[in-house]
């Protein structure tokens, strides 16, 4: 029997933007087993729900993640609105979709950069982040914040976007699309990228489904789950298809994300075309009394905000289940049998957001 050794990977590692630790059990250069550990930066946000009024907690919910912050805030608000039976104005629903899709663009572009960096393609990394700056500029111009927007509230949104600005954003999307096309062409066709990602970290469709994979990790293995299909917000009035791939390797996962970039710009264009005039919020009175499992599609996959109120201003429970937590078991499966040199690329391929997970 080959001697087994354990190589610690993380919590500090050049490819890891945030701390996760993996004990890699190796036989020669092959990984035969993996034991993951998180909890290095657990912040206990959920506990704060006992000390902040439900209308204020949206700011806490938003800070769960520094990348898809808007979607956390919107999901929390939608959960409260479901409990309280609040119907927000239609314009607010469209604005939430627009900001959510810009968040997805920003998140995916950030990830493409980190991913390119994981296999040493520095130029591609810088290119992805250069395009991301355009997206962040729009977020800043329309909400005042690059990564923490603070524009969502229970009952609607805090800020409106003028129709002139929406038209300007629609035009700017053409430039973003063109630049993303150039970038994704490299990710999808370059030999070095293919060599590092094809047949690497394969996750079968069955494993993806039963291990609870979410988002591009699931869709890269052919599991077509996308919570936007439930039609929350204004998604029920917009047309889009769920991007999937069938090979389940790292290439498939980045191919799904490449397709999703263009789905997002298309959804923003549709939302800009259809957004009606009118108010962007309604007055909220009373306090939530009941419970709801609000689910939405984050850039990394299915997000669950379980909210429970007892009729007071303070919720009894806010439980946030992030996609990275549920993508850890699939990651363990992907790593079993891989080469040590492929570990950074495979870990990055699930787009781990430990900040979310350590809410």
């Amino acid at each position: 029997m080959t001697k087994q050794i354990i190589v610690p990977f993380g919590p500090q590692h050049p490819v890891l933007p945030e701390p996760i630790h993996l004990d890699l059990v190796l036989e020669d250069e092959k990984v035969v087993d993996v034991i993951p550990t998180i909890g290095y930066i657990h912040r206990g946000f959920e506990k704060l729900v006992e000390k902040r009024e439900f209308t204020e907690y949206v700011f806490i919910a938003e800070r769960t993640c520094g990348i898809c912050s808007f979607i956390h805030g919107a999901t929390y608000c939608q959960g409260i609105e479901q409990i309280m039976g609040i119907q927000v104005p239609e314009r607010a629903e469209y604005l939430r979709v627009i900001w959510s899709e810009y968040s997805r663009l920003h998140s995916h572009l950030l990830w493409f950069g980190l991913y390119a960096d994981s296999f040493g393609f520095e130029n591609l990394f810088m290119n992805a982040w250069r395009i991301r700056e355009r997206v962040l500029d729009v977020m800043e111009q329309t909400t005042g914040g690059r990564v923490i927007q603070g524009s969502c509230k229970v009952g609607g949104v805090r800020k409106d976007i003028s129709n002139e600005k929406l038209d300007e954003m629609a035009k700017d999307l053409d430039t973003i699309d063109r630049e993303m096309k150039e970038m994704t062409t490299v990710f999808l066709n370059d030999d070095t990228v293919r060599h590092r990602t094809r047949n690497v970290g394969v996750l079968s469709r069955e494993d993806a489904y039963h291990l609870g994979a979410a988002g591009p990790t699931a869709r890269g293995s052919g599991v077509a789950i996308d919570l936007r299909m439930t039609g929350y917000g204004a998604y029920d009035r917009l047309n889009f298809h769920v991007a999937t791939e069938s090979c389940g390797d790292c290439y498939s996962r980045h191919s799904v994300r490449a397709q999703e970039l263009f789905t997002s710009t298309d959804l923003i264009r549709q939302a800009i075309r259809k957004i009606p005039d009118g108010p962007v919020d309604i007055k909220v009175t009373g306090a939530p009394n009941g419970e709801f499992f609000m689910r939405s599609e984050q850039p990394r996959g299915e997000l669950v905000h379980y909210l429970k109120g007892n009729g007071t201003k303070f919720l009894v429970r806010s439980r946030i289940r992030t996609p990275t937590l549920t993508n850890i078991p699939p990651l363990v499966k992907m790593l079993q049998g891989c080469d040590l040199a492929d570990v950074p690329v495979i870990v990055l391929s699930i787009d781990p957001c430990i900040s979310c997970t350590e809410r």
Binding site: Y40, L211, T230, L325
Partner: protein, 122 residues
């Protein structure tokens, strides 16, 4: 548009059989979460999804109850079950990868547990 969801309260003894049924019917495990209710009780929700419909099994336990692990049916449940132990102090029996309290390291041990709540009141 309202997302469809149902909550099914069950006894702890029926947990494994009910989860097995969901597994056999092709549901995927979407979430396990714990909520402190009252002074010494916890609600644990096991959420399963199929075609975007969420079915939630709910058991209510005390801090002393030993909850059986469902990792025999859903291998990936170890992340939730270790989390449940580390944050709430719930005793889960038979987890496939049992971190024994080191999966999530918090400054206060079991921050959502009964004992942590008593300390906070002091």
């Amino acid at each position: 548009m309202k997302q469809e969801q149902t909550i099914i309260p069950i006894e702890v003894g029926r947990l494994i059989g009910s989860v097995e049924q969901f597994r056999n019917e092709g549901y995927r495990l979407a979430h396990i979460g714990c909520t402190k209710v009252g002074d010494n009780s916890f609600e644990i929700n096991y959420s399963f999804d199929k075609d975007y419909v969420l079915q939630n099994l709910r058991i209510t336990v005390t801090a002393e109850t030993e909850v059986p692990s469902i990792t025999g049916m859903y291998w990936g449940a170890f992340a939730y079950e270790n989390e449940m132990h580390d944050l709430f102090g719930i005793q889960v029996k038979g987890i496939n990868i049992d971190f024994k309290g080191t999966f999530i390291r918090t400054a206060i041990k079991f921050p959502f547990s009964v004992s942590a709540a008593k300390e906070e009141k002091k």
